[in-house]
């Protein structure tokens, strides 16, 4: 589709990012590994999504909400001072400016609208840093749905502000004390809830992971990021960028922006935390309903991911990322917590933009590798804003005597 107007959230379904095969696989990754109780629910969801996605009324309604409520299209900001400092022409796709402060709202509004269309009255969600939980609670409030959010007990503590936000929005937040008490355990608990309440509840999964159709459906709800960014980049530079960078936990913001550029020559870079480098250090495994790269021990027990950023504390990655890596279309380097802290400060200082710690991973990679891509044009997906992380960073920088 070459004649789209800028910022049109519609896209060409025949693009290179095709849908997975009938078993929900991208190559050898994906699938639907769920308890038998959930198989019919996944099948119904797939049918419901297909039907809604091909219905112009649904798409119009979603487009309207994205525009009038979420604030889309998000801006593409050229970062002159950071560009000068790094010797690279840098644009930021400003998902941090969306309502609720991150890209998460795109997916959640889509799923909530779909859940309502399918007659569900309740949303169940998991959250790491709380951004997906806040987005889900927001969509539930907007659409009059009940909402329960599971969050690892460790994350509840380090993201107290987002817990308060969710409760203010009318959601019930339950701290999960099992396992590593982080995102993966919150996913387990949300799936258990869904098993028990599948008749009336929709599991509003927060990333491009889980059983089919989630990785595909969530990607479709997020590809608006990439479609907009491509048009905006062409308008600003007359062409496509050389590099597209995004952070990867499960990988929803990354897949969203990659989708807009997968059929260009742009390098696609998904940056993982060093303590949760599923693509680099994981091997294919099956958990949370999907086959994908997964950090696990020699027996197949799932390992804990460790990152300064709660939103990236996930030992796996969405199956489409595993596939993009396996075919060599995207690369998945990792950065350390120290590099992330520096990047957090760098963007704040040079551009007046305090990024989410998740998004700071993308900037950390760019900062480290800038000398190898001098003069090139880079689009960074700034997936979220850093308000939620400033208290944590006060502690981190305070300990270093820098705050």
């Amino acid at each position: 589709m070459t004649d789209t107007t800028p910022f049109d959230t519609r896209f060409d379904d025949d693009s290179l990012m095709s849908e997975p095969d009938p078993t929900g696989r991208f190559g050898e990754f994906g699938g639907r590994f769920v308890p038998e109780t959930l198989v019919p629910a996944c099948q119904q969801l797939e049918a419901g999504f297909r039907e809604a996605w091909s219905d112009p009324e649904f798409r119009d309604e979603l487009d309207t909400i994205l525009r009038d409520y979420a604030g889309r299209p998000s801006m593409l900001t050229e970062c002159f001072r950071l560009s000068e400092e790094l010797g690279v022409r840098i644009f930021m796709k400003r998902e941090d400016l969306n309502h609720t402060g991150s890209h998460k709202i795109n997916n959640v509004l889509g799923q909530a609208l779909l859940a309502k269309r399918m007659g569900k009255q309740r949303l169940v969600a998991e959250t790491g840093a709380g951004q997906h939980g806040v987005a889900t609670a927001t969509a539930a409030a907007l659409m009059g749905l009940d909402c329960k959010v599971y969050m690892g007990a460790v994350d509840v503590e380090r993201q107290a502000l987002n817990v308060f936000r969710m409760r203010l929005l009318g959601a019930e937040v339950e701290a999960v004390h099992s396992g590593s008490k982080t995102l993966k355990d919150a996913v387990n608990e949300a799936m258990r809830d869904w098993v028990a309440t599948v008749d009336g509840s929709h599991y509003c999964l927060g990333s491009v992971m889980g059983p089919h159709p989630y990785p595909w459906m969530v990607r479709q709800f997020h590809r608006v990021i990439g479609d907009e960014a491509r048009e905006q980049c062409r308008a600003a530079t007359g062409g496509d960028p050389d590099v597209v960078v995004a952070c990867v936990g499960g990988g929803s913001n990354a897949i969203g922006i990659f989708t807009g550029f997968v059929d260009t020559d742009a390098r696609l870079v998904g940056v993982e935390p060093a303590g949760g480098a599923a693509v680099r250090h994981g091997v294919p495994g099956v958990v949370h309903g999907m086959r994908s790269y997964l950090m696990q021990d020699e027996y197949g027990q799932v390992e804990e991911a460790l990152s300064i950023s709660a939103g990236l504390d996930y030992p796996g990655v969405g199956p489409e990322h595993s596939w993009l890596s396996s075919i060599g279309r995207a690369e998945y380097p990792n950065v350390t917590d120290d590099e992330v802290v520096e990047a957090f400060q760098l963007l704040s200082r040079t551009e007046g933009i305090i990024p989410a710690l998740e998004s700071a991973h993308a900037i950390a990679w760019l900062s480290r590798e800038a000398h190898t891509i001098q003069g090139q044009t880079v689009v960074v997906n700034l997936s979220g804003r850093g308000d939620k992380d400033v208290a944590q960073m006060m502690d981190v920088l305070g300990d270093r005597g820098e705050a």
Binding site: E36, H288, Q301
Partner: protein
Amino acid sequence: MSETFGRIETEFRAKRDAGHKLLVPYITGGYPGWQDAIRACAAQGADAVEIGIPFSDPVMDGPVIQQASQAALDRGATPQSVLDEVPRLDVEIPLLVMTYYNLVHHDGHRRFAHRLVEAGVSGCILPDLPLEESEPWTRAADHEGVETVMLAAPTAPDDRLPRVAARARGFLYSVGLLGVTGERDELAATATALAGRLKAITEVPVLVGVGVSNAEQAYEATRVADGVIQGASMMRRLIDQGPDAVGEYVAEVRASIDRH
């Protein structure tokens, strides 16, 4: 053509046809006292025992079994360390393994199936491996002679159940309610409803599990089903009171379902 069944299905069909209701306790492998608990189950009238191989992310299990699994993992339990103990249990009844698919996937289907056979395990239950994804495992399991117990859920439409039943070996695990393992005050209406639907379409023995919490509920469930699987109520006794209490409880459930 005469069908040949594995050990579990052969024994279960014969017992069922003789009017005997089947009782399968679940015990988490690697939890302190688990071997004695299994011996106690066998001594007090269990027809088979399901041994849990602990997994880090047990999505079908509620708090009791999850706690037991974590405790076993914290003590260093591995799939092989659990299987190594099985030949030393020295019980006459067939044994099954219940675990999650990643441990099988990670080990390799054929190798895992072979490990089960070497340990003397007859069957396997993988609650996160639904029919559509099961073929690589069931092919290996069939080849090695391991009986794969399939789960049937209350949410399944009518056209799905015969396909699940057709793939089941040993017995068919009729999931008693929408939810995960754990004790409930009452047997859910879905338990007998699903068991009835399954009994109408298959000759494979139908056992109700998940949410069968005491001797009376076991009696109720076996008014329709051929037997019951009890996990959380077994493990709570093992955790709180030790292996002897598990044996006493098995005897109590046995007496209850023998009233039929």
